[in-house]
C-alpha cells in the first residue's frame, strides 16, 4: 500500500480535537457487547472508547498502523525467544469506578475469558497462553499460573510457543482489565466498569447506549484517544439504508452523527451526485478481501487445471461494479491486504480485469472437465448476492455453470465452516484481519488446522508447504522478516489456486457536517472512533 490512505475529497488531517458536545453514532447492530471478554470490537472502534488494554493501535489518517503502549509502558519485552512477554503498568490509571488499575485486574480480565459463561470473544490469546488446558476461568476459584503478577504494576505472560505478534494480541479487547469481584458474569455486560475515556450511563439493547465521560480517565496517561465529545449516544438497530439517508440529508439531528455501517451501493451512487454529502463521505483504502474460496476437497475441483481455469475466468470488473464501483472496491489478485506488512503485489494468473474465458476454456479442455457445474454458496445479503451473480456470469462465459446457493449468514457459515467438505464447490466470503498482521490474512483462512469446527479455512486447503511457512512466520519476531515469509505463503496458496481473490473492498462511511476528525487509516477499514470530535 502506498500513501493513498484515503480516497475521496475529504482527505482528513488531524485537527486539534475540540472537547464537548454530544455525538450520535448510528448503528445497525441491535446489541453492543459491553463485556470485554466477549467483544469482537476493533481496538479503535467501540471498545477503544470504553476499554484500555496493555497496548493499543496508533492509527493516523496516513501512515502505517502501529501497535503502541496503552496501559503499559511499552509494547512488551520478549524473552525466551518470544515465549515470555513482560509488561509494566503506567501509574495514574483508573477504572470508571475510581479504583486504580492493577496488573491483577489485567490478569483477572484475561482469566475471565476462559469461563464458559463468557466465551465468545476473539480468543487470539487462548491457544497461546501456556497451561490453559482444562482451565475454566476465575469463577472456579483457580487462577492461571502462566500469567505472573509479581506486583500490582507488573505482568508476565508465559506462552506455549514463541509468538512475535503478541503485542498485537495484547491489544485486542479480550485483554482489557476487569476489577475482580465487581464483574459478575451475568450482569457485567449491562453495567460494565470501564477504563477508557467513556463510561456507560445506560444501555438498552436494540435501542441505544449512552456513554458519558469516565471522570477518572486522564488524557495525560492516554495520548491515543482524543476523548472529544462529552457524551455519545449510540443509536442501535438502525436500518442501513435509512441511516445513510439520514446522514445524506444532514438534518439537525444528523449533523452531530456518523454512521457505523458501510454506505450501501445505492446510496454511494447517490452521494456521487450530492457534493455536500460527497464531502462528508469517508472511504477506506482498499482493504478487506472479497474472495471466492475454492473447495479443493470437492471432487470436481481436485484437478489444479480446473482451479486455474477459475482464476483466469473471473471478471473482476463486474465484481467491482457489483460492489458499488471503484469507490467501493479495487481488483485483488493477492491475499495479504494493502496496508499490512508483508504485502507484495503480484498476479499469478494475468488475464486482465475482465478475465480471460478463452484461456480458462482451454485449461478446462486440458483437464478434460466438460459441462462443469459448480455450486457457489453465498450469504444472502444484497452485496454478496450481486457479487456472486457477477462471478456466475463470468464463469458461464467460460462454459462453467454456477448454481448459486443463497444462504442466511448462519446457514452459510455452518455449511462452509462445518466439518463436512461436501455441499459446496465455491464459497463467497470476505475477510478483514482483526489486527494488522499478515498472520491474520493467512492463518485463519488457509492453515490446515483451521478446517472445519467452525473455523474459516473454507477452501479446505491442507498444504504442508503452506502450513510450514505459517509456522515459520509466526515464530519470527522481527516484523519485516516475518512479512517476507507471509508473502511466500501468500504465493504458495495462490499457486494452489485454492482461492480466487476478487476485490479489496473499500468501506465508505458518512458523517454529519459537524463531525470532525472522522477518518480511516490504512488499517482497519473503519473510522477511528477514538479520534472523533465535534466542531464547537
Amino acid at each position: 500500500g502506498g500513501a493513498n490512505n484515503t480516497s475521496g475529497p475529504g482527505t482528513p488531517t488531524i485537527s486539534p480535537a475540540e472537547k464537548g458536545g454530544t455525538l450520535t453514532i448510528l448503528d445497525s447492530q441491535t446489541t453492543l457487547t459491553l463485556d470485554p471478554a466477549q467483544s469482537w470490537s476493533l481496538a479503535v472502534t467501540s471498545s477503544g472508547l470504553l476499554w484500555r488494554r496493555l497496548t493499543t493501535w496508533k492509527i493516523g489518517p496516513t501512515g502505517a498502523p502501529a501497535v503502541v503502549p496503552d496501559l503499559a509502558t511499552s509494547d512488551g519485552t520478549p524473552s525466551d525467544g518470544g515465549r515470555v512477554w513482560t509488561y509494566h503498568l503506567k501509574s495514574g490509571i483508573y477504572f470508571s469506578n475510581g479504583q486504580p488499575i492493577t496488573s491483577y485486574d489485567v490478569k483477572y480480565g484475561i482469566e475471565r475469558t476462559y469461563a464458559a459463561a463468557l466465551s465468545g470473544g476473539l480468543n487470539y490469546q487462548k491457544p497461546l497462553i501456556a497451561g490453559t488446558a482444562g482451565y475454566q476461568g476465575p469463577f472456579s476459584g483457580k487462577e492461571l499460573s502462566s500469567i505472573v503478577t509479581p506486583n500490582s504494576k507488573t505482568i508476565i505472560f508465559h506462552l506455549n510457543k514463541p509468538y512475535g505478534n503478541w503485542p498485537w494480541v495484547v491489544s485486542t479487547t479480550s485483554m482489557a482489565p476487569v476489577p475482580e469481584g465487581k464483574a459478575p458474569a451475568a450482569t457485567f455486560n449491562s453495567h460494565p466498569i470501564t477504563s477508557g475515556p467513556y463510561a456507560v450511563q445506560s444501555y438498552t439493547p436494540g435501542n441505544s447506549a449512552i456513554l458519558v465521560r469516565n471522570k477518572y480517565w486522564t488524557a495525560a496517561t492516554d495520548p491515543n484517544r482524543s476523548g472529544g465529545p462529552s457524551k455519545i449516544i449510540w443509536e442501535l438497530n438502525q436500518d442501513p439504508t435509512v441511516e445513510a439517508q439520514t446522514l445524506l440529508a444532514d438534518g439537525p439531528n444528523a449533523q452531530n452523527a456518523f454512521g457505523a455501517d458501510f454506505v450501501p451501493p445505492a446510496q454511494l451512487a447517490q452521494v456521487e451526485n450530492n457534493p455536500s454529502a460527497k464531502a462528508r463521505l469517508v472511504t477506506s483504502p482498499a482493504s478487506p478481501l472479497e474472495y471466492v474460496a475454492v473447495n479443493v476437497q470437492s471432487p470436481k475441483l481436485k484437478n489444479l487445471k480446473v482451479r486455474e481455469a477459475l482464476e483466469y475466468a473471473v471478471n473482476r470488473q463486474a465484481v467491482v461494479v457489483a460492489s458499488g464501483g471503484p469507490v467501493a472496491a479495487d481488483p485483488a489478485t493477492t491475499l495479504i491486504t494493502p496496508g499490512i506488512v508483508g504485502r507484495e503485489p503480484y498476479n499469478l494468473y494475468p488475464a486482465g480485469t475482465a478475465g480471460d474465458p478463452a484461456k480458462a476454456k482451454s485449461l478446462l479442455t486440458q483437464a478434460g472437465a466438460h459441462n462443469l457445474t459448480l455450486t457457489l454458496a453465498t450469504p444472502n445479503d444484497p452485496i454478496s448476492t450481486a457479487i456472486s451473480q457477477a462471478v456466475q456470469q463470468a464463469y458461464s462465459a467460460a462454459g462453467i455453470k454456477v448454481v448459486i446457493k443463497s444462504l442466511s449468514a448462519n446457514a452459510f457459515s455452518a455449511l462452509a465452516t462445518g466439518n463436512s467438505a461436501s455441499g459446496y464447490d465455491l464459497a463467497l466470503s470476505s475477510w478483514q484481519p482483526d489486527f494488522p498482521s499478515a498472520m491474520d490474512n493467512i492463518e485463519p483462512l488457509f492453515a490446515s488446522a483451521m478446517i472445519g469446527n467452525g473455523n474459516y479455512n473454507i477452501s479446505r486447503l491442507s498444504d504442508p508447504k503452506v502450513d510450514a511457512l505459517i509456522n515459520r512466520a509466526e515464530g519470527t519476531i522481527n516484523e519485516a522478516a516475518a512479512g517476507k515469509i507471509w508473502a511466500q505463503a501468500d504465493k504458495a496458496i495462490m499457486a494452489d489456486a485454492a482461492v480466487v481473490p476478487l476485490v479489496y473492498n473499500r468501506n465508505s462511511f458518512l458523517r454529519g457536517s459537524n463531525v470532525d476528525n472522522f477518518y480511516i487509516g490504512e488499517f482497519p477499514a473503519y473510522p477511528v472512533y477514538t479520534a472523533v470530535s465535534l466542531k464547537q
Binding site: 439517508q245 456521487e272 451473480q389
Partner: protein, 317 residues
C-alpha cells in the same frame, strides 16, 4: 326413490327447457363489464409475456443474464435518462449489472406468475376445504381443524424455511417446491374466514332445507355453502397474490426459491427498493408489473362477483 310422481303429466309445449340452465346472463354481464374485460386482457397479456419471454426479449438480442457494463456509469448506475432506456433496452438496465430490465421483467413473469398464482390457488383450495369442513361439521372436527389452523399460523416458519433451505439440494425443481411451501403456510387465513362464514351460513333455512331433503354434507357444501362464499374467497385469493410473490422472493434469499440469476419479480423488487431514490426506474418495471397483474385479477374478480351476483342479474352497465 320412486319418481313416478308426475308420470301422467304432459309437458306444456311452451316450456323453454333451456331457460332453466341459462347462464348466459352472467356471461353477458361479464362481457359488458369493461373493467373485468380489461383485467382479463391484462392478465392474459402477462401470461403471453411470460410464455414468449425469450422471443420478445430476443427481438433486441437481449436476455436477462448478460451483463452490459458499458451501459453503466462507473458507480454502477445506468447511463442515460429513465434508468438507461434506449432502443436496445426498452425499460432500461439494472444498476450494478446492466442486465436488460425488459428481459428480466418478461422472464420474471414466468416464475412470479407461476408461483404467485399457483401458491395462491393451492392455499385457497386447502383453506376453503378445511374451512368449510370445520365450520359445517362443527364439534370435534372443528376443534381439531381449528387447532391445526392455529398451529400452522403459530408454526416457527422462519427457522423452518431456513432449515428447508439447507436441506433441499440446489438442483431441486424449485418452482413446485415453492408453490407447495407457500401454499402450505398460506391457507390458514382463508380457512379461518371461510369457517367463520360457514358457521353463520349453516343455520340459514336454505341449508336446513337442503338437509331436510337428505342432501349429503358434501353436496350441501358444494351447492349451498360454497356459492355463498365465492365472493369472499375470490377477494382473499386475488389479494394474496402479491404476498405470495413477495414470499417467493424471501424464499429465494433463504435458498429455497429459484436461485439467481433466474429472474423473478419479487427478488427484483426487493433489490430495487434500496435504489428507489437514485434509480426509481429500476423499481418501476417489476413493481408496476406486479401491481398491474394484481389490479387486473382483482378487477376480473370483481367482475365475476358482479356477474354471478343474482341481485345484479339483468343489470348491464
Amino acid at each position: 326413490m320412486p319418481s313416478k310422481i308426475l308420470s301422467g303429466l304432459t309437458v306444456p309445449a311452451d316450456v323453454p327447457v333451456a331457460a332453466i340452465v341459462r347462464r348466459s346472463g352472467a356471461f353477458a354481464r361479464l362481457l359488458a363489464d369493461r373493467w373485468a374485460l380489461t383485467g382479463a386482457a391484462v392478465a392474459v397479456g402477462f401470461v403471453l409475456l411470460a410464455l414468449f419471454a425469450p422471443f420478445l426479449s430476443g427481438i433486441n438480442g437481449n436476455n436477462p443474464y448478460t451483463y452490459h457494463l458499458s451501459a453503466l456509469t462507473s458507480s454502477g448506475l445506468p447511463r442515460g435518462p429513465l434508468g438507461g432506456v434506449s432502443a436496445s433496452h426498452w425499460l432500461g438496465v439494472e444498476p450494478q449489472t446492466g442486465r436488460d430490465l425488459f428481459a428480466i421483467a418478461a422472464y420474471g413473469a414466468r416464475i412470479s406468475l407461476l408461483v404467485g398464482v399457483g401458491a395462491t390457488v393451492l392455499a385457497t383450495v386447502i383453506g376453503t376445504v378445511l374451512g368449510v369442513l370445520a365450520g359445517y361439521r362443527g364439534g370435534l372436527v372443528d376443534t381439531l381443524l381449528s387447532r391445526f389452523t392455529d398451529l400452522t399460523i403459530a408454526f416457527p416458519q422462519l427457522i423452518f424455511m431456513i432449515a428447508l433451505g439447507a436441506l433441499v439440494p440446489a438442483s431441486f425443481p424449485k418452482q413446485f417446491f415453492m408453490i407447495a411451501v407457500i401454499g402450505a403456510f398460506g391457507w390458514p387465513s382463508v380457512a379461518r374466514v371461510v369457517r367463520a362464514q360457514t358457521l353463520a351460513l349453516r343455520n340459514r333455512s336454505f341449508v336446513v332445507a337442503a338437509q331436510s331433503i337428505g342432501a349429503r354434507p358434501l353436496h350441501i357444501l358444494r351447492t349451498e355453502i360454497l356459492p355463498n362464499l365465492a365472493a369472499t374467497i375470490t377477494v382473499i385469493a386475488t389479494m394474496s397474490i402479491p404476498g405470495a410473490i413477495g414470499t417467493e422472493a424471501a424464499l429465494s434469499f433463504l435458498g429455497i426459491g429459484v436461485p439467481p440469476p433466474t429472474p423473478s419479480w419479487g427478488r427484483e423488487i426487493s433489490s430495487a427498493i434500496a435504489w428507489v431514490s437514485v434509480d426509481p426506474w429500476y423499481l418501476a418495471a417489476p413493481g408496476i408489473a406486479l401491481f398491474l397483474v394484481t389490479l387486473a385479477l382483482n378487477a376480473f374478480g370483481d367482475g365475476l362477483r358482479d356477474a354471478f351476483d343474482p341481485r345484479m342479474s339483468g343489470r348491464l352497465r
